[in-house]
């Protein structure tokens, strides 16, 4: 990609190139970097939380700071770490897997990234202005209203509003891409499962992030403009927020787990050398899970006192999700069954996902029994449950995906020995940290407490859990070391397909040219690359003659548009700060004008440019 880009960016610095890029492969890298930074930040908070809980009546961290840590840990991990890391892989792999030169709307792709990034930055600014958000990631009212919490919650409302907007338009972009940009012959039922889960995730984003945006807008009105939606004293309703939040919040869980399911469904077949067992059942299960995820939100509110009829209905609806999830688990197992499995780091993570996720799944079914949930709710049992799903599912999926796609993205492998040590440390540390938390919940430790009294039998298990979290931290540090170490020592990869894998992204040369495919391939089967290796001549059949390639122009406008939203958001938060109204007004106006001004600038038509045929031939010769 460097050669092709060279003509365009000859006189431009590397920094400018990355700020203006609309290339899905580069945006993928930006997503991964930003996601990793937020992941590390929230991970450090998690370790601080565990250190505080190591001993009874510890006063290292005050209740206020602890609440800020748990709130920011949860919010950042879900919105600013897991989502962008998954988006990174989706951005990289989905256009390649469906045989496209880029996403459908490259400008929107860049805009989505920068808006998400500046939204995250806005949320993080809270630390410098009176402390982080502190009402829990669920921000239950009335605790999250102005009367009880400081400006951290303003940053929460505005930061998530902005970053959620970025996530929303990226989701729309993926839907459009997957529906419109598939190569000839790539029917819906021949798409890799990662594309399917990406599509379903994006649809969930569009449907779930809109109520979140509405809810956050109401919360913002309550906090900044003395609105009365949620404040009981003025006739507002506290349960209303819980409904709005969980109508978003439950699908959000599936928004995150779906692409992880997809990664597992790519890695397991690739390293079992066998096609995915029950492909159509898998697709059906994914759609069913997504559909059901919208009718179970009340199971987060069983103890809010909503009545036996509602609780029963939502309990039964929740149980039904276990069925399609079980279908997926067994299909993964039977993909491995009868295969020839190679256990490298990617496969270790992907295969160990199965038993770990089952443990998270069965506690999920246990939680769905509403009257028994009266015990589990808001205890460490729930904390253990969702960490089993999120770490056991999403984090292991992400690490599997990282090791799997790394050679294609960066042109070299990650060190396998370090990778395997990372896996075992993470695996052992994870179970050590979280398994015991199930029991902690049952013997009376509630969630979100900054300390616990001595003499309540909670000391030993908390100590074990904290030790586990140190082991997990060691694993993550080792992963970062591995990335740096491999960058310097790993051999460059020049082959197309180092894993002997199955899907279209492995048919492209390494490094991938800017335009991905010189000729858009003709797809003849599910797992098209594997099909051509076995039934064809080991090359994709082209679906078009070699010709000039149309490419989109880079642009700085997405960056500026997002920066404008950041300034606007910060101005809105200033309403509650002790600054003159005029200053606040100016900041809001600057941000507003910046965002809408760049929109006006962008309304000028931009037809992109063509890479001439000779250049394409030259590049193909170089990389081929």
């Amino acid at each position: 990609m460097a050669t092709a880009a060279a003509t365009q960016t000859k006189n431009k610095s590397v920094l400018w190139d990355w700020l203006t890029t609309v290339d899905h492969k580069k945006l993928a890298v930006l997503y991964l970097i930003a996601g990793t930074l937020f992941f590390v930040k929230a991970g450090v908070m998690a370790v601080l939380i565990r250190i505080q809980l190591m001993t009874a009546e510890n006063d290292l961290i005050s209740g206020q700071v602890f609440n800020e840590l748990i709130t920011m840990h949860g919010t950042i991990m879900l919105f600013l770490a897991a989502t962008p890391l998954l988006f990174g892989f989706m951005n990289f792999a989905i256009p390649l897997q469906i045989g496209a030169r880029d996403v459908a709307l490259p400008f929107i792709n860049a805009l989505g990234f920068w808006i998400f990034f500046f939204g995250g930055l806005l949320l993080s600014m809270s630390w410098f202005f009176g402390g982080g958000a502190d009402a829990g990631w669920t921000a239950y009212v009335p605790l999250s209203t102005r009367e009880f919490t400081g400006s951290g919650m303003d940053f929460y409302a505005l930061g998530l509003q902005v970053s959620g907007f970025g996530t929303l338009i990226s989701g729309i972009n993926f839907i459009v891409t997957i529906i419109n940009m598939r190569a000839p012959g790539m029917t819906m039922m021949r798409m890799p499962l990662f594309c399917w889960t990406g599509l379903i995730m994006s649809i969930l984003i569009v449907v779930a992030f809109t109520p979140l945006a509405a809810g956050l807008a109401l919360l913002m009105l309550d906090r900044l403009f003395m609105g009365q939606f949620f404040i009981p004293d003025y006739g507002g309703n506290a349960i209303l927020w819980a409904h709005i939040f969980w109508i978003f919040g439950h699908p959000e869980v599936y928004i995150l787990i779906m692409p992880a399911f997809g990664i597992i469904s790519e890695v397991v077949p690739a390293f079992s050398r066998k096609r995915l067992f029950g492909y159509s059942a898998m697709v059906f299960a994914v759609i069913l899970i997504a559909f059901l995820s919208f009718m179970v939100w009340v199971h987060h509110m069983f103890t809010i006192g909503i009545g036996p009829i509602t609780n029963s209905v939502f309990a039964l609806a929740t149980m039904t999700i276990a069925v399609p999830t079980g279908i997926k688990i067994f299909n993964w197992l039977f993909t491995m069954w009868g295969g020839k499995i190679t256990f490298n780091t990617a496969m270790l993570c992907a295969s160990s996902f199965v038993p770990t996720f089952v443990l998270g799944g069965i506690t999920g079914v246990m939680l769905s029994m509403a009257p028994v949930d009266y015990l589990y709710h808001d205890t460490y049992f729930v904390v253990a449950h969702f960490h089993y799903v999120i770490i056991g599912g999403i984090v292991f999926g992400l690490i599997a995906g990282l090791h799997y796609w790394y050679p294609k993205m960066f042109g070299h492998m990650l060190n396998e020995t370090l990778g395997k040590i990372t896996f075992w440390l993470l695996y052992i540390g994870f179970h050590l940290t979280f398994f015991i938390q199930h029991i902690l919940g049952l013997i009376g430790m509630q969630r979100r407490i900054y300390t616990y009294m001595s003499g309540q039998g909670l000391e030993t298990m908390n100590m074990v859990s904290t030790i586990g979290s140190f082991v997990m931290s060691a694993a993550i540090i080792l992963l970062v070391v591995n990335i740096v170490y491999s960058a310097f020592t790993s051999e460059r990869i020049t082959v197309r397909d180092p894993w002997d894998a199955r899907t279209l992204e492995w048919s492209t040369p390494t490094p991938i040219p800017e335009y991905n495919f010189a000729q858009i391939p003709q797809v003849r089967s599910l797992d098209p690359w594997f099909y051509e290796k076995v039934h064809g001549d080991g090359k994709m059949k082209p679906s078009e003659p070699l010709k000039d390639i149309h490419m989109p122009n880079g642009s700085i406008l997405p960056f500026l548009m997002a920066l404008g939203l950041f300034i606007w958001g910060f101005g809105m938060v200033m309403i509650n700060m002790d600054v003159p109204t005029v200053v606040t007004g100016i900041v809001i106006a600057v941000g507003f004008i910046m965002t809408f001004g760049t929109m006006v600038l962008h309304s000028k038509e931009d037809h992109g440019y063509y890479i001439p045929l000779e250049r394409v031939k030259k590049i193909e010769k170089e990389v081929g």
């Binding site: 209740g63 004293d233 492909y279 609780n311 149980m319 205890t379 009376g444 407490i449 039998g457």
Partner: protein, 353 residues
């Protein structure tokens, strides 16, 4: 219920849980239930564990066989048979989980209604009028505050942070909150229910044995959420009746020229009485102190002794961040001693004996 429990007792999973129950603190852990509500929850948790154990055994067995048996040997380049799928298998792992879920669904719905049972008077007339309340039926109004609990009894008196109930009968708690959301949880006696400001919801608990049970706030309610504990004191019926009677007695002021009388004077002069009522006399911004000397804990969580009490009065913010009690740092040692003596004299249990 008891029959099923006795059968299950011999099975290993139950044995493991009973072993784990040993880890937790007695009358706190939910693994050692003390009343029918907690017992129901415990039994059904065990039931779900057995059902889920089937799933775990099936998946783990398949997984470990696959992982051990189907490894690729070095140099083996043969491509395994590309299996598309199997309708029979798909149907199997769709139908069996559905059957397992039905086993769990039945008690789930039953239990939801079991716990939603309302006090007879409310159930009969819809809106329970004062006159309809049968004498033996106890409905305690629970108002949760940052970070203490207010218990209003049907007889008209109030208790703070420690709620007394009779053993062997259902006691209803009518929950609401004064500021933010809280959650009322007594793990050894039953499930939890949220205290939501502006909304009232009803939950019942029953203690089968007398004793002091731990209660906790389970919904994040601010910086001192962790310190918002309370106690449920279960008394035998006749002792409970005596306690209720003692709580309703007229206030007896300390005899003149005693240290307690001086303390009472401090209590009034410093304005303590503006927030803390004694025998119904005084404000209600803080927990009532009628039976303060009977308390297990100071401010719900701290060890009960004079030193803790003094440092609490001098600087409550230091001990319980963000709580609403002002500090009395400059109170003279003399006044402090008198105040503590007065507070220590506020016992209802003494009156009972």
């Amino acid at each position: 219920m008891t029959k099923r429990k006795s059968v299950l007792r011999f099975l290993p999973l139950t044995a493991m849980l009973l072993f784990l129950a040993g880890c937790g603190e007695d009358r706190l852990t939910a693994l050692d239930p003390y009343g029918p509500a907690a017992q129901w929850i415990y039994d059904n948790m065990i039931l779900s564990l057995y059902v889920m154990a089937l799933v775990v055994i099936a998946v783990f067995t398949l997984f470990f066989i696959a992982v051990v048996k189907f490894r690729r040997k070095p140099g083996d380049d043969e491509i395994p048979k590309q299996v598309e799928g199997s309708k029979a298998l798909e149907v199997t792992w769709t139908v069996i989980p559905i059957l397992l879920l039905i086993i769990l669904a039945v008690p789930t719905v039953q239990g939801t209604y079991f716990f939603a049972e309302e006090p007879p008077s409310v159930g009969a007339s819809g809106e329970g009028e004062e006159e309809d309340v049968q004498p033996e039926e106890i409905i305690i109004d629970v108002t949760a505050h940052q970070y203490w609990w207010q218990f209003d009894y049907p007889e008209g008196f109030t208790a703070g942070n420690e709620v007394y109930i009779p053993t062997g009968e259902k006691v209803w708690f009518n929950l609401t909150a004064g500021d933010v959301m809280h959650s009322f949880w007594v793990p050894a006696l039953g499930g939890k229910l949220d205290n939501v400001p502006g909304i009232e919801s009803m939950v019942w608990l029953q203690a089968d044995e007398p004793g002091v049970y731990y209660g906790k706030c389970a919904e994040l309610c601010g910086p001192s959420h962790a310190l918002m504990e309370f106690k449920v004191v279960a008394l035998e019926q006749d002792e409970y009746d005596e306690w209720v009677a003692a709580m309703q007695e007229e206030e007896v002021l300390p005899e003149e020229n005693t240290i307690e009388a001086d303390g009472r004077q401090v209590f009034e002069n410093q304005g303590c009485i503006g927030c803390h009522a004694v025998e119904g006399q005084g404000g209600a911004q803080g927990p009532t102190l009628t039976n303060f000397a009977d308390r297990e804990r100071i401010a719900g969580v701290f060890e009960f002794n004079d030193e803790t009490l003094e440092s609490w009065i001098r600087n409550p913010e230091e001990m319980k961040q963000d709580n609403n009690m002002p500090s009395y740092e400059s109170l003279s040692d003399e006044d402090m001693e008198a105040l503590i003596a007065y507070l220590n004299s506020l016992s209802v249990e003494e009156k009972m004996n």
